[in-house]
């Protein structure tokens, strides 16, 4: 776990891949890709079903750890069209006291009306307290951006020709890209520039990584 400060607000980068915004009691989640496993299975590709259940386990643990008043999904909540996973999700939403907002992503092909019907607010982007929340990475002069979409990872190097690819929270001066929260999602490797900050997520720990050393 790593606690950082941006624009006088405090954010906890959690090993689950979520970010907790303390001042607003809001949990940020990007790229959950619910129903991805079901979608593959429906098309004859046998991904183990257990891989899908990881979402609910992880979220239950987070609810016990933080006083969450609001869930803010940064897009790609559902992987594809509706399948039975939708029913599971609906049942889960009904049990929650916290409010829910979905910033739409490219995979969200389920109509907004259906999300609204079960109580989610659906928006294209969200602006709050000098922060801008969207699915896609973007540049805003006045706002700090939180986004997803990329499934960011980095390549680490060490002596003895060691190399590792790890998922990460990828922060540049005006933007933070969250790692994918969903299981079975893959990585896209980014190369940091001067001024970027990388918090690698091992699933157990979030660690800030030293840059360069050439």
């Amino acid at each position: 776990m790593k606690r950082i400060k941006i624009k006088e607000n405090h954010f906890v980068l959690h090993p689950s891949g979520a970010v907790f915004w303390e001042e607003q009691k809001t949990l940020l989640l990007a790229d959950v890709h619910l129903g991805k496993v079901a979608h593959f299975r429906k098309n004859g590709i046998a991904v183990p079903r257990k891989a899908e259940g990881a979402f609910y386990q992880k979220i239950t643990a987070l609810l016990a750890e933080f006083p969450i008043a609001r869930f803010l999904f940064l897009g790609d909540l559902f992987h594809s069209f509706q399948n039975n996973e939708w029913l599971l999700f609906t049942a889960w939403v009904k049990q929650q006291k916290a409010s829910m907002v979905l910033v739409e992503g490219n995979h969200d092909v389920i109509p907004a009306a259906q999300f609204e019907e079960i109580g989610l607010q659906v928006v294209d982007q969200l602006m709050e307290e000098g922060f801008y929340f969207s699915h896609f990475p973007t540049k805003k002069e006045t706002h700090f951006v939180f986004c997803g979409h990329v499934h960011p990872g980095v390549k680490l190097k060490g002596s003895g020709l060691q190399q590792m690819k790890m998922p990460c929270f990828f922060q540049s001066p005006q933007q933070m890209i969250l790692p994918a929260f969903g299981a079975f999602t893959g990585l896209h490797i980014l190369t940091p520039k001067e001024g970027d900050q990388v918090y690698v997520n091992t699933g157990k720990e979030v660690t800030e990584i030293r840059e360069n050393k050439i």
Partner: protein, 805 residues
């Protein structure tokens, strides 16, 4: 009507003993295996038998009677032409067709309407035929299956495909004859048993032909400047150019497509007169260009062709006078095969020039020459329980006619590959296809294969059937993209991961041209010609092969045999040997050498078992595992055919290593199994398994990807199986294959038995030795660690994007 013998006479040929033997055995209704080298007239030995029988009948029924399976498309063209010529002259009504991945849609439709007497095809294309609904009818007149170059298929998953096809077709037509043609193998009985199955009525025919093969090493004038590592061999280009200029036609064999592109370029650069008479041939080049090159070779229009294994087999290019092999051919078999490209006429001798790309390969050259004296190629390790190939085969049947599990099960048990398949695992596979898991779960919507009322398993969903049809075949590659000029005209294919690294405007070399990337569109790479001198060369994956056991034995002998000291190769090596002995030793048969030295990169520990790449890969993992039990440590490993290296950021002590007897034979099996689980070795094997079994869908060729949201990498599957379903048979197959191929039929045990009788010599060196150099500079590496991820990360750093990029 003329007989086969008369036809031979008319050609001015005298039948050889093995040809007559084949004709006779075939006439007696026998199955068989013919061992004969390429270019010996083996095609006529089998086809003569088939024709002799066909000539007895005047009016033939419409339908395929003879199937000829070849491993290579280029070879299929040759066989079709040769057999058609002979057939036309003896029985003008009979035709021979060809069906490969290159066959056009219209040609396929024609073959379906009007099947010919004979069909020359590849294992993959034959499976496509089995995926049609009426295949039992289209094969109802089938009399014989001939499998050509069986040694090339044996020990590959394509070989498993052939086993399945034969067992399946034989279940419909018990009278079906099966013949194999193979180079001479050590274990002939095994090769026969795998192909022919458990039958009694067979013969083995051996062609007693010794081809004279001369090997000449291309040596530099000055050994002092000879590189200790590298794989290109460009420094010897002037000598190669001289050979090219001296001969009418030269074939230059390279081991990878990238190497092929580079040599083509450099030759043309060095001698612009070659323009117009130099060409390139590799598997990624568009078929039209490939066929043109093959044709131009026959017409004697080309002076030099740079090629990869795509021109290895059978193809008869009589004008070729001269062959050059660049870098290690990795096996005696392949070397003989390639040498056979020149002087491709029965009894004519062949010459091949061997170009060592680094000093160590000179030792190999000597070993190869000794291997050729014995005229025997290496044995292949057959695959067992390839569930991925079986699942693909079951799907192939399920998208066509469908299959009855009860009927199919005993047929499968009759194949060599699945002889130990039991009811339990058979049920697992059926569940995998029908339910996608082993237990029925609530909410699950899995759809693939349906069970019909009569118990037949059949695919009803059209999308699933189409995806399977498009991804059939066991040769695995990354998603391939077509390269096309903006104005039209295809150049070939390149793997997606290479293009993914390019930006529009970047220049790369392909098919000998410098091309600028304009954009990527619908699985096509649109390019224009570029004048830019700077360009990238695409690399193609999967080019790495291991030394055979056979060649490793030869190599070990070569190192210590007195007589070799007088060879030009060893004389040339003298400065290298001198340097090696100054820092370390040249190990003798009773010595096992370990070297330790430190560089900027960390602590190198190098072992020299001389057992070949495959054994060293497993051994490196095993040794790393054993050392990692002493204390938390992380290794990066490299291996080649001579030895392997363990590199770490902290040293492990010599005394700890020796006192704990880490080279022991005890617990070899358990330790290797554990090291496979800890290391990532099985991950690479899983890549093929995921594609073959249909988990990873590679997209539609020539069509925009419609499989939206369905693409995922094999690595991701590996991780979810490992985490959520470790008893999955496909995941288990990856571990078992890694283990089996690491153990190599007990060879690993022998290796450790040998070591037990050897003196272990640990040398602390002040700098890297010549023997170690190719290893420590190799960037293709594996890793194994007993440190936690969290601890390792704390020691690591990020590399920033360079300014200006």
């Amino acid at each position: 009507m003329t007989t086969v013998r008369q036809w031979f006479k008319a050609q001015g040929w005298t039948p050889q003993a093995f040809q007559k033997d084949c004709w006779k055995a075939y006439g007696e209704g026998k199955n068989g295996m013919l061992h004969a080298p390429t270019g010996s007239g083996k095609t006529f030995a089998l086809w003569g038998g088939i024709l002799q029988e066909a000539l007895k009948i005047k009016k033939h029924p419409v339908g395929i009677q003879a199937l000829w399976i070849t491993p290579l498309r280029a070879l299929a063209v040759e066989i079709q032409q040769a057999t058609q010529r002979m057939t036309s002259e003896l029985h003008p009504d009979l035709n021979i067709a060809m069906r490969t991945g290159d066959t056009s849609q219209s040609e396929r439709a024609k073959q379906k309407r009007k099947p010919s007497f004979g069909l020359v095809t590849t294992p993959e294309s034959l499976h496509v035929l089995l995926s049609t609904k009426d295949h039992p009818k289209s094969f109802q007149h089938l009399k014989v299956i001939v499998v050509d170059e069986w040694h090339e298929l044996l020990g590959t998953k394509r070989g498993v495909q052939v086993e399945l096809t034969i067992a399946y077709l034989r279940s419909f037509f018990p009278e079906l004859k099966v013949w194999g043609i193979s180079a001479t193998l050590g274990d002939k009985d095994l090769a026969r048993e795998i192909l022919l199955g458990p039958i009694e009525n067979y013969v083995t025919v051996n062609a007693q032909i010794k081809k004279k093969i001369k090997v000449k090493s291309i040596l530099p004038k000055n050994m002092e400047s000879f590189p200790w590592r590298g794989h290109l061999g460009i420094h010897l280009l002037p000598q190669v150019l001289k050979l090219v200029q001296k001969n009418k036609t030269t074939l230059i064999f390279t081991n990878t497509r990238a190497q092929c592109e580079i040599w083509f370029h450099r030759l043309l650069e060095a001698d612009s007169n070659l323009a117009g008479s130099i060409a390139m041939h590799h598997g990624s080049i568009d078929k039209k260009i490939r066929l043109w090159v093959e044709d131009a070779l026959r017409q004697e229009q080309l002076k030099v062709v740079v090629c990869t294994s795509s021109l290895d087999l059978g193809v008869d290019f009589s004008p070729v006078e001269n062959c050059v092999q660049i870098g290690s051919p990795k096996g005696v078999g392949r070397f003989i095969q390639r040498a056979g490209r020149s002087g491709h006429r029965p009894k004519a001798g062949s010459t091949i020039h061997f170009l060592p790309t680094h000093a160590m390969e000179l030792i190999e050259s000597v070993a190869l020459q000794r291997g050729i004296e014995q005229q025997q190629i290496e044995d292949r390790i057959p695959f067992l329980n390839s569930y991925d190939v079986l699942l693909q085969f079951l799907m192939t049947l399920a998208v066509g006619k469908g299959f009855q599990p009860k009927e199919l099960f005993p047929i499968l048990q009759n194949t060599f590959c699945f002889q130990t398949l039991d009811e339990e695992r058979w049920q697992w596979l059926l569940n995998f296809l029908v339910k996608g898991s082993q237990s029925l779960e609530h909410y699950d919507e899995y759809k693939k294969v349906n069970v019909l009322e009569d118990g037949t398993l059949k695919v009803l969903n059209k999308g699933i059937a189409m995806r399977h049809r498009l991804s059939m075949g066991t040769i695995v590659s990354d998603a391939n993209l077509k390269i096309r000029y903006q104005k039209g005209g295809y150049l070939g294919t390149v793997e997606e991961w290479f293009v993914a690294k390019l930006k529009p405007g970047d220049v790369f070399t392909f098919s000998g041209r410098n091309l600028e990337l304009i954009r990527m569109h619908n699985m096509e790479v649109i390019v224009r010609k570029s004048k830019s001198k700077k360009s990238r060369i695409p690399a193609w994956m999967g080019g790495r092969m291991s030394f055979s056991a056979h060649l490793s034995d030869l190599l070990k002998q070569a190192l210590c045999e007195e007589r070799n000291l007088e060879t030009p190769e060893f004389k040339a090596l003298a400065p290298v040997f001198y340097q090696q002995q100054r820092e370390s030793i040249i190990p003798q048969p009773n010595q096992f050498l370990i070297e330790r030295f430190q560089t900027r990169e960390g602590y190198h520990t190098v072992f020299y078992p001389f057992e070949g790449y495959a054994i060293h890969e497993a051994m490196a993992s095993l040794m790393a595992y054993r050392v990692s039990l002493l204390s938390p440590i992380t290794f990066s490993m490299s291996f080649n055919d001579y030895g392997f290296e363990l590199l770490s950021d902290q040293p492990f002590a010599k005394d700890d290593f020796l006192d704990n007897n880490l080279l022991t034979l005890d617990h070899l099996h358990e330790d290797l199994e554990k090291s496979i689980n800890v290391s990532e070795m099985a991950r690479r094997r899983f890549r093929d398994i995921a594609v073959i079994s249909g988990l990873v869908f590679q997209g539609f060729p020539n069509k925009p990807i419609k499989a939206k949201h369905l693409q995922s990498g094999s690595q991701l599957f590996y991780d979810v199986f490992k985490d959520y379903e470790p008893d999955n048979l496909l995941y288990q197959q990856a571990l078992e294959e890694t283990f089996d191929h690491g153990m190599e039929n007990g060879r690993m045990t022998q290796v450790f038995e040998n070591i037990a009788g050897q003196e272990i010599i640990w040398r602390d060196c002040s700098q890297p030795t010549p023997f170690s150099f190719p290893l420590i500079t190799d960037r293709i590496r594996s890793k194994l660690s007993s440190e936690s991820v969290e601890d390792r990360i704390k020691k690591m750093y990020l590399q920033l994007e360079k300014a200006g990029e």
